[in-house]
Amino acid sequence: MADHVEGQQHPISIYFWIWGLLFVLSTLSYMVDYLQFQGYLRWTLIVVFMLLKAGLIVAVFMHMMWERMALWCAILIPPGAILVFIGLMSAEADYTFFTRLVFFGAAP
């Protein structure tokens, strides 16, 4: 056995808790499809459950909540640029869709 303990040490119960929570959240997001929710309700629920799951994995399983701020700023801020990219590409996709309607005819 170790004479001293180093690195990330947290009670094992927290991993079981997060594991259980991830199971519950996955079941809930599956139910969104199973119960056939549609429209904005569906999209909102999908994104909320997705972000909760992602947050739990990064914060606890990847130990980000116990790291120093220098690390989590370096890793978690740059993906913010992706939001800008999503905005640009959705504007582009809308434009493509519009020109396809104009030049190729009827909508679905």
Partner: protein
């Protein structure tokens, strides 16, 4: 602290000396772990590019997008259940993340047998995930006739984005399974206790490699959370 009296080297030698000088931005984090985080950040951008291109083609097509709920439905014992295979794959990957997190904990306690056992369980979960994905691909290609350039259900871009995104993710899982087995062998034969250097590196073996392996594995699970939400549920 006082500057050292050694003069700074010019040119290429200077670049190497400057970048390797004794500085540390991420306190309490071994550099191998910091580098894994930075690799995962770059991987985040790659997967984002795939998912954003999927969004772009799905938004811009005038043909209806195939209904994932129906495409990935299975009939089990006469019951038609929508999206069931994908739900099972999701639970398997989450379970593998749970066993991986515990392997990291037992690793830092230097409990060799539990660490190796949990790593092998994680690898088995990962391998079964890849197996189910192979089943899913076979069903889609052989029975449903989905191709990267078209399919009978709707928008032609469905196949291209599906094979690209899930294929790249499945490759990540497969590579993860191989490395999980390598790390499990290292743990079991005591390479980390004896600080034996690895095959391709002169660095001493330490239990932090279990945590670095864990970061990669949790990332694979994290990516699946986004694929599940955007590709299968949306």
């Amino acid at each position: 602290m006082a500057e050292s009296a050694v003069p700074l080297a010019p040119g290429l030698r200077g670049i190497a000396a400057d970048w390797s000088s004794d500085q540390r931005a991420f306190k309490n984090v071994p550099w191998g772990k910091a580098m894994m985080w930075i690799f995962l950040l770059s991987d985040t951008f790659i997967f984002s590019c795939f998912l954003i291109s999927y969004m772009t083609v799905r938004m811009s097509t005038t043909v209806p997008w195939p209904n994932a709920s129906e495409v990935f439905a299975l009939t089990i014992f006469g019951n038609h259940i929508p999206l069931i295979l994908i739900a099972i794959m999701t639970f398997i990957l989450i379970s593998s993340s749970g066993t991986m997190a515990m392997a990291v904990k037992f690793g830092y306690q230097k409990n060799k047998r539990m660490t190796a056992f949990l790593l092998v369980v994680t690898a088995i979960f990962g391998a079964s995930f890849v197996g189910m994905q192979a089943f899913e691909w076979t069903k889609l290609i052989v029975e449903e006739g989905v191709r990267p350039w078209g399919n009978p259900m709707g928008a032609a871009q469905f196949g291209a984005t599906f094979f690209m995104i899930t294929g790249f993710h499945g490759t990540h899982v497969s590579i993860g399974v191989i490395f999980l087995i390598i790390v499990a062998v290292k743990v079991l034969r005591g390479s980390l206790d004896e600080e034996r250097p690895g095959f391709m590196t002169g660095r001493k073996g330490r239990y932090e490699i279990v945590e670095i392996m864990g970061l990669y594995w949790h990332f694979v699970d994290l990516v699946w959370v986004f694929i599940f939400a955007f590709f299968y549920l949306w």
